[in-house]
């Protein structure tokens, strides 16, 4: 049924998206970038890729941040285009895809305000996909309740705040907990939305979201190792599904050190393989492995047709691409030796 009707509404955006995906930088692009010796070279090379038109020719601003901004703008432009072309259901899906950016932006501004940074500076750091009208007003709020009453009640995130409000003053800890709670509700909500759509979309997105849920569970566990967050608190931050749910999550909530985490993970198939494949035991390694695995999932999503998962995975791929560019560029700025650039080669980039 899906095959018969999908293209009715979503055929065009999907086709456009696949076109966008075809324009992602390839491994040969990356290897050429490694040979770049200056920002100018980099810019020249990027001008031959899909970023060609968006690196606006008329500016002599030649800084890393400017380049990255251009690339991000290009991504946002593509996304907006897709959003414009999307019909109701896909539009909703794409809107939900921007929620994580919103959450990040809120957290960024609130925590920035805690450290007395200027609001407009913070606004510049925000990801353009996660902007909403009254975002700047976040700076006014003093505590969670106020935050909600003043600003967030107008945003689509309002529903995620249900039951997670406290009138305590904002602190780092609270913000972090808020972020995780928001993410939890977001992932669960998204999961529900996708299963409502059903079909291949639900299938593909379930893989993504349960992976996301597990990743967050692991990250929360690792980050809270030294803190006084208790077991129940942690459990309340874990999502209600995913490969680790419920026993793995219960175990994770209990752990005290890093080794225990690896031990628990080795009991769950995708992660056990990943963990065993890498000998490293640092926390960054876990992160890296996870994002590598996610990119694999993204690639796989493109193998199937007639589902919305490709949109999500495209966003992820593009995000990673921009992260890669940031990596290359900062390595370029730090030193021009080939070695430092090589570090970023080992990052997962997609030779698609």
């Amino acid at each position: 049924m899906e095959m018969a009707t999908f293209n009715l509404n979503d055929g065009f955006p999907e086709a456009i998206l696949r076109g966008f995906k075809g324009a992602l930088l390839t491994s040969s692009d990356y290897s050429l970038m490694c040979q770049c010796e200056s920002l100018d070279d980099m810019k020249m090379h990027l001008a031959t890729t899909c970023y060609g038109n968006s690196l606006d020719k008329d500016s002599n601003l030649n800084t890393t941040s400017h380049l990255i901004e251009c690339c991000t703008d290009k991504f946002v432009e593509e996304f907006q285009y897709l959003r414009c072309q999307a019909d109701k259901r896909l539009g909703e899906f794409l809107d939900i895809c921007t929620y994580p950016y919103m959450i990040d932006n809120i957290v960024l501004i609130v925590s920035g305000c805690l450290h007395n940074q200027q609001t407009h500076e913070l606004l510049e750091k925000c990801h353009p996909l996660g902007m909403f009208d009254s975002i700047a007003t976040l700076a006014v709020a003093q505590n969670m309740q106020e935050l909600y009453d003043l600003v967030l009640v107008d945003t689509p995130l309002a529903k995620y705040f249900h039951g997670s409000l406290s009138s305590e003053d904002l602190t780092e800890m609270h913000i972090e907990i808020m972020r995780n709670k928001l993410y939890k509700s977001f992932i669960e909500d998204f999961h529900q939305f996708c299963s409502k759509i059903g079909g291949t979309t639900a299938e593909v997105m379930a893989t993504f979201l349960s992976f996301e849920a597990d990743r967050r569970a692991i990250a929360i566990t690792l980050n809270s190792l030294g803190t006084d967050l208790n077991r129940d608190d942690k459990l309340s931050l874990f999502c209600g599904f995913g490969a680790l749910h419920p026993y793995g999550q219960r175990d994770l909530a209990r752990v005290e050190d890093f080794d225990e985490v690896t031990k628990i993970l080795s009991g769950y198939p995708p992660y056990s393989l990943l963990i065993s494949a890498s000998s490293g035991s640092e926390e960054q390694m876990v992160d890296k492995i996870m994002s590598g695995y996610e990119l694999e999932l993204c690639k796989d999503a493109f193998m199937q047709q007639f589902h919305y998962g490709v949109f999500w995975s495209y966003i992820k791929l593009k995000e990673q691409e921009i992260r890669n560019l940031i990596g290359y560029l900062s390595a370029l700025c730090k030193s021009n030796t080939a070695e430092s650039t090589m570090v970023y080669r080992s990052e997962p980039h997609l030779g698609v």
Binding site: D41, M44, D133, V140
Partner: protein, 883 residues
Amino acid sequence: MAHFEGVNGGEESSSRLSGSPGHASTSLWRSEEMQFVQLVIPAEAAHDTVARLGHVGLMQFKDLNTDKSAFQRTYANQVKRCDEMQRKLRFLLDEMVKVGIADADAKLQAVTHALADPELLESSYELDELEVTLEELEKDLVSITTAASKLRKSESELVEFQLVLEKAGQFFEDAKRTGASLRGSGGSPREVELSGSHHADESIESPLMGSDFTHARQGAASGYPGLSSRLGFIAGLVPTAKLHQFERVAFRAMRGNVFLKSSPVGPVRDPALDEKVNKDVFVIFFSGDRSRSKMLKICDAFAANRYPLPEEPHRQAQMHSEVCTRLAELSSTSRAGDDQGRALMLRASHHWESWMAATMAEKATYHAMNKFSIDVTSKCLVAQGWIPSASRASIADALRYAAARSNAPVETIFSTVQASAGLRGGGGASDLRNPPTYFRTTKVITAFQGLVDAYGVARYREMNPTVFTIVTFPFLFAVMFGDVGHGLLMLMAGLYMVLNEKKMQKKKLNDIVEMAFGGRYLIVLMSVFSIYTGLLYNEMFSIPMTLFGPTKWVWSSDQDKYVMPAGAAPYAFGVDPIWHGTKTELTFLNSMKMKMSIVLGVIQMLLGVAVSCFNHLQKPTGPQTSERDTLSITCEFVPRLLFLTCTFGYLAILILVKWFTASKADLYLLMINMFLSPGANECGKNCPETDPLYGLGGLAGFLVFVAFCCVPWMLLPKPLIIRKRHALKSQGGHAYGILSAEEDSDGDDENGNAGGGEEDEYNFGEEMVHQMIHTIEYVLGSVSNTASYLRLWALSLAHSQLSSVFYEKCFVAAMETGSPVAIVIGFYVWAMATLGVLMVMESLSAFLHALRLHWVEYQNKFYVGDGYSFEPFAFQTLNTNET
């Protein structure tokens, strides 16, 4: 019809090229003979030489540095510098357009002309000097514009303040008046406030603010300073789009203890963004200092500009006048600044196009030089590329000239690379075997060549279908579009474009007009043919004409039918007008047009087969060499020709004979009998034995036999003979190979042989399958293609029927009513339908079908079309839009 765009682009340059003297007369039958040449250019003369070649515009450079990316190339730096200069020039142009002293399109056109003008580039600017000039210009301009924008910023701030003073002052005044009137009517301030708050949401004129305000003032006056400080207000402007959000957030933040009054002021220049934004003036009241700081933050968040509004009316008035005087001062200052910038830009504007042209040429030159390989000692550059053999002399001239100009100690070495010689860069040998295709077209022919190129660029030295297309395309179009009136309308449009060619070339046209303009000569030719076929069909807006006298048929009441009186000649030209409106008109026309379509189709297909013979006669084996492919002629061309002639050629002849002899034979039956019962002599029910088409059974049987023999003839001998030849060759080894002229090193020789071996690698199976496919395609194709030509009949029928329907149902029907209004309306509808449906849609569909008949039915008989076109390095063809 995308080809038209390309057509138009290429046209200017090509017409210019053909205009230049010293070229041998060139033929359109086959593409130009090309040579692969190598230039060894001394480093000092490199730039001048390449620039010179850019003027001549007849050499296509081969990229010898494909392995290097853009930024690794030798002249990447210079290219970057040119980019930077172009950026500055574009910046200048933008500024000029903003101020209104230049038109962007006109300037870009001027650049195109400047690029084409060799004089201008002859006096080329020194790049370094130009760079410095531009640098200074940009700096000056930037400083002027930043100063101007600063002025503008303070100006718009003042304007906003002025607006706030006016509008907000108005609020206070209104409120006070209402408050006073209420108080005057006896209510205590307390009551007023209560009633005011009650109505606050309903009307902006409500006295809440006034009463609050006066209340506060009273409190202040009566020694309660706390009261006035508690009730604060902020005045300013907020973008209209954000007003509601702003109000809502403020309301929430103050827990409802807030009152906001606003009034729209329309588009106002925002000081921060420097662009016009729709804004509202607002005054917001709240109480308490903490609220004030909160409000300030909210204002910042919403990009609401705040202004210090004094409370007292007289101070407001005073401030207002102050602001007004400062505004006047500012505007005179900024005008002076603008004048300065204008003068600067006017000066720059004179040179702009020549600067731009020089920079573009420079950039193109360095791009070309990036394709050269540089000798290790970097004393000289090696360039390779294709040139038309006929233009060798002019290129040699250009090289000598450039070397002399740049005072180089040695001249550029100019040599032709032979296929056997070793080549720099990978894939040299295969590159040499594939020269580009180059036709020198004139502006008339370009459109037709475009029609063919849109299908595929001809293979090197292949027979060019364009030659016949020039006539056949408009003719087949006209067969489908035959009407004198429509033809005349089209002719007018076409002639208009042709006559105003010069004017229209300069203008920038919109897409559709540009497409039509590119094909203007095609349109003229199509319309002329349409008039001709219209005369044949005897139709002018579907009305028959009696140009050649009245019909000779007369009604004979004895025989109850029309008869031709003895001695009368038939109607002199075209269809007899008497057919019009008769019951049998359609039957007659259908039969005629159908048969005509088949005859035309068979003729065109036979032409296609004949052209393939010329392809075999002179089959190119290298850039300059060709051979006669006897095998293909005997085993492909001859059986194909025979097959088509014996089947559908025979049908066409039968048709013609039937027409000329007034035979009554049933052609369907003849054709069916030809295949199903060979030898049968009868020719239909009404066909007497005296009929000229009676008794053709023997001939038909023979023809079918020949046609059947042709099939294996096409299929088998060619691949078998090729295999045999190949076997012989491999037995005999390389003994029969032509000895390479320069066998200086064994390594070279080995390379050559290896390359040759690869080329000759022969796969019989593959060859056989190919031959099978071709044979099947041809045999089936001759049936389906002939049927395909029936579209000529179908479209022609549709056209004449449509036009007669429009004429009768709109125009004639309206005339019959006799009312002038109905006639006017009827005429209008008919005219619109004729223009919209017949002239536009029908002509497009006829065009499309004519195109299809050429691409598929005609060209598949001989045309390979897998070449690539010659794209010389020429300044004239640089695209100004890409700058």
